[in-house]
Every structure is written in C-alpha cells, then in structure tokens.
C-alpha cells in the first residue's frame, strides 16, 4: 500500500510499504477514505517530538471502511464506515473506565520508555512517534486499528467524510478545551490560536453558552474564519497588545477562561521574546516555545481556568508560576479523551448545531501528502486544514 512516511526533519515521502495485518484479536483493518494532516503532525515534521524513526507512517486523523475484523471484535462488520479516535484505548483499564482514554494504561507498548520522560505513560497514539507506542499512522491506504471494539464510531451515510473526519481529533479536542472551562452564563472565553483546534474550541465555547469568545492569532484569514464561522471577536497579536486589549474588552476583569490551542511551537509578537525561546529550542535546552501559555496565564481573571489543549512534548521555560499561584488559577489539560465525545458530537453535527468541516481549506490526493505538509507548514494559500483523499 501507499503510506506517508517521515524521512527526517521537514521531510515526508509517500512510499510503498506492506499492507497491515491483524496482530491482536481485538484489531480491525480499515481501508482509508479520508485522512487529515494535524497541527501536531507539524511538530513531528519539524522534529520537536522525540523518538521518530525514518520510515514511520504518520497520521492520527483518519476514517474509512472496515475490511477485516479480529475474532474479538463483535461490534463492527466488514463494510462499516467508521471514524477512528486518535488515542488508542483498551476500554478496560481503570483510566479508560473513568473516561480518561488518552491515558489508557495498556495501549502503549513503549510505556517504560515514556515513563522515563513523563513519570507515567500516556496512551498509544497512531502515527505519533515511538514515545506513544510506535503505531503506524493513517495517512495511508490502510491502517490497523487496535481495540476496534472500543474506539471506532460508525458513521451514518448522510454525514459526509469531511464532517465525520473532524471527530478523529480536532472537534473533540476543541470541544474538550471549551468543556474544561466550566462555562457559566456571562463567561468570556479567550482562545489563543486560530488553527483548526482553536477555531473549533471557539465554536464549542459558543455552543456551551459563553457570552463572548475572543480569538487571538496573527493570520488575518484565520481570524476571519473565527469571526465568520465561530462567532468570535478577534485580536491580531502583531497589531495589538493582547493583555491590554483583553483587559479593555472585559473592563479589567480578564477573561473567565483562557484556552491555549497553540502548544509548543508558538509565535510571539515581541521579536526579542520569540528569538529567546527559538534559540533555546534550537539548542534543545527547551523543547517548547510557550508564549501562548504564558500570556494565557497572565491574562486570565483571578480564580479562572487556563485550559491547555495545544500539544507539548517536554519542558517549558519561564513558566509564570507566581501569577499562577498567587491568583488562584486552575489549569486543566490533556490529550483529548476522544472516545468520550465522538457520539455526542456526531449527534450535534446531525442536528445541524455545528458543521466542523468549516476549518478545511484544502483537499489533496494522498500521493501529494508532501505538498500538503508544505503548504500547511508555510500557511500558503490561506491553508487551515488539509484533507488527503485516498
């Protein structure tokens, strides 16, 4: 089959690899119809997530048709159309049973390795380095899906691929980011990052009853989407001092909740600040450029929630612990527990409450995956989200 593989820093290539096979009795094999490139794939692409190997198949957002099931998969049949959550979760450990699917205790065969870096291991993830299991990803013609009796969600015919595919990661991730804000009437929610996840976090915050949502980014075309499609007010941090503007908009209170939908490769309006972290990151002294996180903490009203859904991999520097501690802030975070959200969010899509596919800007054939990474990375041609068609 054809698959998108990581070759090295800033380089991916579509190559021929063997077809996947059933390895565990709860596996299924899915013939992929649509698969997306994610902002976090760019972190792998740029080499900021450790433990990539040349030849690793990328991609954790995919859907398609079940073509084979293992003997223990009773809920799926060949021919079913499914979307697959990105965290691999057994459904039977205590974490899974508490709904914490992205920290499944059994799905990462490299747990010992992850523990050395993180204390305890997170779940396995498709196409997301050897730190999270060394599972082949879904930017390919076929994928093996472990614990297929737990993760994949059957998609009704009337829901198109573009909408259903967003359930693999970014819509649940954005939604969880908003849900962690414990939104009550009158709340103002600020979102750093108008990438696909930030846009869907903003839209979700509106769905959950936020009075006002403010989205912060530097790309005018993305801010336009936030205003037009997610009902948000927008701030361009290259033109405005964000902290001043947020205080102005909330008459000095600060947003009740702040969502970091940027993660480890942030940009900063202040060139010196950007250069400082970029240099440390390049020297691998620091693995992250946490501008959004720092600013979200400083902006948040005292006692408010900082919700972190942008991806981090290692250590951050200059964390404003004084502000965080002295102002009674609450931080909530996590890789999304996607399995918890797929059904209710599919229902919201079917009821017409939201169409998450508004974030998709490009469709390309799988064979052009390398081009997709390039235009997404460089934000060419007003790129927000690339879907690869197989």
């Amino acid at each position: 089959m054809k698959a998108t593989t990581w070759v090295g820093k800033d380089k991916v290539k579509v190559v021929d690899v063997p077809d996947p096979k059933i390895m565990n009795s709860r596996d299924a094999i899915v013939k992929i119809s649509s698969t997306a490139i994610c902002g976090s794939d760019l972190h792998l692409y740029h080499g900021y997530i450790p433990a990539m190997r040349e030849g690793d198949i990328l991609g954790h957002e995919f859907m398609g048709e079940v073509v084979e099931v293992g003997p223990e998969v009773g809920n799926l049949a060949v021919g079913d159309r499914v979307v697959v959550p990105f965290p691999i979760a057994c459904g039977r450990c205590r974490s899974c049973q508490q709904g914490l699917f992205s920290v499944c205790e059994n799905s990462n065969p490299n747990a010992g390795f992850a523990e050395k870096l993180m204390g305890h291991s997170p779940a396995g993830i498709f196409g997301y380095s050897h730190l999270t299991g060394g599972y082949a990803g879904g930017q390919a013609e076929y994928a093996r899906v472990p614990f297929a009796d737990v993760g994949p969600l059957k998609v009704p015919d009337e829901v198109p691929d573009d909408q259903a595919l967003m359930l693999a990661d970014i819509f649940p991730t954005g939604y969880m980011g908003a849900e962690m804000c414990d939104i009550t009437p009158g709340d103002v929610v600020a979102v750093w990052g108008a990438g696909p996840v930030g846009l869907l976090a903003a839209a979700s915050a509106r769905l959950l009853g936020a009075e006002r949502v403010i989205v912060i980014d530097r790309y005018p075309y993305r801010l336009r989407l936030a205003a037009d499609r997610a009902g948000a007010e927008v701030l361009n941090y290259e033109e405005t001092d964000v902290l001043d503007a947020l205080n102005e908009l909330t008459a000095g209170r600060g947003p009740d909740a702040c969502i970091d939908a940027v993660g480890l490769e942030g940009h900063h309006g202040n060139a010196a600040m950007y250069a400082y972290d970029r240099a440390k990151q390049a020297a691998r002294v620091e693995t992250e450029r946490p501008f959004a996180l720092r600013e979200a903490i400083l902006a948040c009203r005292s006692g408010g929630v900082v919700s972190v859904i942008g991806a981090y991999g290692g250590f951050v520097d200059k964390f404003p612990m004084g502000a965080f501690m002295n102002r009674s802030l609450i931080m909530r975070t996590g890789q999304c527990h996607v399995q918890r959200y797929t059904r209710p969010l599919l229902e919201r899509i079917r009821r017409g409450e939201i169409d998450p596919s508004f974030v998709i800007s490009h469709h390309l054939p799988l064979k052009d995956a390398a081009k997709g990474y390039q235009i997404f990375q460089k934000k060419q041609d007003d790129c927000t989200k690339v879907v690869l068609k197989v």
Binding site: A3, P18, R53, G112
Partner: protein
C-alpha cells in the same frame, strides 16, 4: 541459618553492597518458607549464594484479587506474560515443570513446587533440588484501597551459578533484571485487563525494554515476517 549467613555478609560489606544485602535479608525473611538460600543448600550450586539476585515489584490491575490469583495459580498461564519462559506444565496441584528460553537457543528446565497457597491472597513457589538456577518467588494479591483494583506484589529471587551458565543467564536477563520483571508485570496487566499482550508495528512482540531501544519503523511488517 541462612539468615545468619546473610548477617555475616552484611558485616563484611559497606555502602551500596551493604544496602543490597540488607534488602536481601528483608526479602528472604519475607519469603520465609521459599527462601532461595534454603533452596540452594539442597542444590549443587552452593557457591552461587553469593550472587543471589532478588527483586520486589508491583503493579495494580483492574480486576478483583480472586481473578488475578486464579490466573496466576494456573501456572501454565505464566509464559503468556513472562517472555523468558517457554512453557510451564503443572504435574499436579503442587508440582510443576518449567522450561525457560536459554542462551543460543538452548533451553533450561527445572521442577518447582508450590510451598504456600492462600487462595485469592498469595502464592509462593520454589525450584526443587537439582535446578541449575535455583529460584523462588511469592506473589501477593492485595485489594487496592477505594475500589482501585488489586495490587499485585511480586518477590523473586534466583541464584545464577558460576561459570559459563551463570554468564549466559546474566546475559539472558540483561543488565537490568528488574526491568525484565517490570515488563512481565506490564504484560500481566495487559493480558488480565485486555485479554492479550498489546502489539504495535514498531514492537510486534509487545513490551520489552531492549526492543524500545532498537525499534523498527512504525510500519506494517512485510508479508514474510508476519506472525
């Protein structure tokens, strides 16, 4: 008698070694009837007592103690998560025959007996006289607080003999014999909770530290190398 011997070793040593001997004393006192050194006394490898390897590790599983006990009590299940074992055959309720993967494709086998069996609580075994690598172990199944499943606490000891076999055994268990057992317990948890050892493309044999250091790329195995 054997505790006295360890006491002498304690007096002779200092620093790290002294701490290790102290832990060994405690564990052997804990294992009581399955004291490896006692096993050794009956065996041929008298000198091996100096190289006693012991460890104590634990994992929490999301099943009742009775279920975890029942799975372990059927000793023939052990090779499903202890990868260095080829097979265990239960001869009767007490005696069993164990075969371990040896170096260079040669296997090592021995007989063992269960010396203490408290249903749903604990199980202790030791190798019978004649084993080339005398060994003993105890596993306890303790209900974790607040309905958090079962704490499975394992004590293991073995005494690699001197000479070539000793070096081969040391190689088999690697530089970190504890890591091997830790991986065994992770697999035990996987098998008990999910039904199987979990495999990935980069790790088709499931968890193993060695494999984590020398991973193949995360792409499907070629047709010829499939399992």
């Amino acid at each position: 008698m054997d505790l006295a011997l360890l006491g002498r070793a304690w007096a002779d040593r200092s620093g790290d070694r002294r701490r290790r001997v102290a832990v060994t004393t405690a564990v052997i006192a804990g294992i009581t009837a399955v004291d490896v050194v006692a096993t050794l006394r009956a065996g041929r490898a008298r000198r091996a007592r100096r190289r006693l390897v012991r460890m104590e590790l634990a994992v929490t599983v999301n099943t009742p103690a009775s279920e975890a006990y029942r799975f372990w009590r059927n000793l023939e299940n052990l090779p499903r998560f202890m990868t260095h074992l080829e097979s265990v055959r239960a001869d009767d309720l007490r005696r069993s025959h164990w075969v371990a993967r040896g170096p260079a494709g040669r296997s090592i086998s021995w007989d063992a007996e269960i010396v203490d069996d408290r249903p749903n609580e604990s199980l202790a075994w030791r190798s019978l006289p004649g084993a080339r690598v005398p060994n003993a172990g105890r596993v306890r199944f303790l209900p974790a607080p607040g309905d958090r499943g079962t704490e499975v606490r394992v004590q293991l000891g073995y005494a690699p003999p001197a000479g070539r076999l000793g070096r081969a055994v040391a190689k088999l268990f690697g530089e970190e014999p504890e890591q091997q057992v830790r991986d065994d317990l992770r697999r035990f948890k996987q098998v008990l909770e999910t039904g199987e050892v979990v495999r990935s493309d980069a790790g088709p044999d499931g968890i193993s530290l060695g494999q984590q250091l020398r991973q193949r790329p995360a792409q499907p195995l070629s047709a010829g190398s499939g399992r």
